[in-house]
């Protein structure tokens, strides 16, 4: 069996899925840093690949870096479509909230893309937004969702801009509001933005929620409530793109 690697070079993290044509053999993950190529090399250390399919914002960087004799690139949109179809074949909509962008994808059976929307130029409402605000709250990013879930009242945060949202959060703090309530409001603002984007692609159920932000329990709960439908969340939601890239590599053959 040839071994195919799917590599998703994102803005915050790089994921690798190794696939032998039948099943996923191994999954690896590392931070992107300011030297993504070195990180990708390290991630691939000790692996003998027959074929590598790169996706994500750094896909072009990997293309000619000699990481494997056969390298192909596909966009994140296609990769998330294929990954979602492999992990949850009945999914008709994919939402990916990653480190610096958000994608909503309408899918047909088999992972074919019908329509997609992406945020442009600004990283409002993405993982970056949560990361920045968790720092403001002095709470580890991984705990920020659980912290927000302790909020009782969802305070309104109107700005989608990370910088302005911080200003709003700070002025709410200055008025003595409960920080848990403010955190809840910040999470709700992400959900509001993503539901609008999902509506633009038609929002057919079931919805697969992918990307690192799908690990945040507060966003998951608020989003499920806003959509009125349970979400299909893969065990490792950040691996969906790399998984899709690997699936593509298996399909196109070595």
């Amino acid at each position: 069996m040839p071994l195919v690697g799917g590599l998703d070079v994102g803005s915050r993290s790089i994921e690798l899925v190794l696939h032998d044509g039948d099943r996923v053999v191994e999954q690896r993950k590392t931070a992107t840093t300011f030297d993504p190529l070195r990180q990708a090399r390290a991630l691939l250390a000790g692996v003998r690949l027959d074929r590598l399919v790169a996706t994500g914002y750094g896909r072009g960087l990997v293309e000619n870096a000699g990481l494997c004799a056969s390298v192909e690139t596909i966009t994140e949109i296609k990769a998330y479509g294929l990954g979602a179809a492999a992990l949850c074949p009945e999914a008709r909509t994919v939402l990916d909230v990653g480190g610096q962008d958000t994608k909503a994808i309408a899918l047909a059976a088999g992972g074919k893309i019908l329509k997609f929307e992406m945020n442009d130029r600004c990283a409002a409402g993405t993982g970056k937004f949560l990361e920045h605000l968790a720092t403001v709250f002095q709470i580890p990013l991984a705990e920020f969702g659980a912290y927000a879930l302790e909020g009782k009242e969802q305070l309104a945060i109107n700005s989608m801009c990370t910088v302005f949202a911080e200003t709003e959060a700070v002025s709410l703090m200055a008025r003595g509001r409960d920080p848990h309530d403010i955190a809840l409001g910040l999470h709700a603002s992400i959900v509001k933005r993503t539901t609008a984007m999902l509506a633009r692609v038609g929002l057919a159920s079931p919805v697969l929620f992918a990307g690192g932000v799908a690990n945040n329990p507060c966003v998951v709960r608020l989003l499920a409530a806003a959509l009125g439908t349970p979400l299909c969340i893969p065990e490792q939601p950040e691996m969906v793109g790399a998984h899709g890239a690997a699936v593509h590599g298996c399909r196109t053959g070595v």
């Binding site: 914002y57 966009t75 994140e76 949109i77 296609k78 893309i113 329509k115 997609f116 442009d120 130029r121």
Partner: protein
């Protein structure tokens, strides 16, 4: 190409020489990367390469020579200004610079920051003293095609000799009357400016000149129905851009010569890309020189552009002026009717544009449409929503892009365009 004579001319036109040198250097680099790097280009494109390399040089020299011989230069920003009248008054008709991020800081002192890049650009070019075309003009004609331009012209009028034509918002009989009175007013303005009377004979000749130019561009567009595509979308856009400032008769001859070459190529089933390459129609706002950002991204993503549904494209060339008219009055009516067929997004309703986009998709056998709106261009951003609906009912996928002249979103645009090309493959 920057000869001493050019330098002296630019100094005389009071350009900001160091800034202008910088602009030309960037333009040259940009042109090399986007145009000269293409493989399989037609020989006939050498004319366009030359015209573009001399856009601020020899062409400006020609304008200065025309001025010295007593002719007047009229600058425009819109396909609504009837070129036939300008030529019939023996004046020179040129489109003005508005496709680069130049002088924006200065422009933002006259117009709000949330103004589209095209408007900021023409004001910026003037305030930063970078456009030798604007500096050569004896008269600049504005028009009321959107609120942004309308208000910008109020501020612009303090810097150039400006007249604004009122373009109606609807196409009823009353609107036609208004437009006709504006066309007549333009005729009078030209006669006063030039001292030349526009006669039936002169207008008829001008109508034939401009129709011939439009026919050459129609011929080019029709040849692009072939698969494989015989010319890149970038080159076709360049031709449409050059149509706005080159001498019309020389331009028409060179485009017809180019079309002869394209015909040969089509006959041999040769193209700039392999047959079966995804074919896209570009639709929406005009792309003025050197706004080649989106076409370059599209054609670097495995697709080829087969048509431009835009003012710098089919909106400028689709309709001809009837040549049946014998009297001056009849010719004016023919002009009025032709210009009112323009399906600009400033009209309400504007069903024609929906129909025209669909017709182009089918004629050009486009696999999809990329709709391009300039950020803050309300009319086209609105119509993007409508066109996407219309197209989806007919099974044609569309990608809606709203962007400006800056390069900060190139990577994000690449991802979206590549994903769209993957989707339609």
């Amino acid at each position: 190409m920057t000869t001493n004579a050019h330098q002296a001319m630019w100094e005389q036109l009071n350009l900001d020489i160091p800034a202008h040198d910088g602009l030309l250097a960037v333009l040259g680099k940009f042109y090399g990367d986007i145009y000269l790097s293409q493989s399989g280009r037609l020989n006939g494109m050498e004319y366009l390469d030359f015209v573009l390399s001399e856009v601020h040089g020899l062409r400006i020299k020609e304008l200065q020579d025309a001025k010295a011989s007593g002719r007047k230069i009229v600058g425009t920003f819109c396909v609504f200004v009837p070129e036939e009248l300008t030529l019939a008054a023996d004046a020179v008709h040129v489109g003005l610079c508005s496709g680069a991020e130049a002088g924006f800081a200065e422009a933002e002192q006259l117009v709000p920051r949330n103004t589209c890049a095209l408007i900021k650009s023409f004001i910026g070019f003037k305030l930063a003293r970078l456009c030798p075309f604007t500096e050569s003009c004896d008269l600049v004609i504005g028009e009321t095609t959107c609120d942004g331009k309308k208000k910008a012209y109020e501020a612009f009028a303090e810097h150039v000799p400006l007249e604004v034509l009122e373009v109606p918002q609807r196409k009823t009989a009353a609107d036609r009357l208004l437009w006709k009175s504006e066309v007549l007013r333009y005729k009078q303005l030209l006669e006063e400016l030039t001292g030349n009377q526009i006669t039936a004979e002169k207008l008829q000749a001008a109508i034939q000149t401009v129709n011939a130019k439009r026919r050459a561009l129609q011929r080019l567009n029709a040849l692009r129905q072939a698969d494989p595509a015989p010319i890149s979308g970038r080159d076709a856009l360049l031709i449409n851009q050059v149509a706005f400032y080159d001498d019309p008769i020389r331009f028409t001859a060179s485009i017809n010569a180019l079309c002869d070459q394209i015909e040969e190529r089509v006959g041999k089933k040769e193209g700039v890309v392999p047959a079966g390459t995804p074919r896209l129609l570009l639709s929406g706002c005009p792309m003025a020189v050197p706004n080649w950002k989106l076409p370059y991204i599209v054609e670097s993503s495995g697709a080829v552009i087969v048509g431009e549904e835009s003012c710098i494209g089919s909106r400028n060339t689709r309709d001809l002026v009837s040549e049946e008219a014998a009297t001056l009055d009849e010719m004016i009516d023919a002009l009025v009717d032709r210009y009112l067929k323009i399906d600009c997004a400033c009209f309400t309703p504007n069903q024609e544009r929906q129909d025209n986009v669909r017709a182009m998709v089918s004629e050009l056998q486009a696999d999809g449409v990329i709709h391009y709106s300039l950020l803050f261009c309300q009319p086209y951003e609105h119509e993007a929503i409508k066109i996407e609906k219309t197209l989806s009912q007919h099974g044609t996928p569309m990608l809606s892009i709203a962007t400006d002249y800056s390069m900060e979103d190139v990577e994000q645009l690449k991802t979206r365009v590549e994903a769209f090309v993957e989707m339609i493959k």
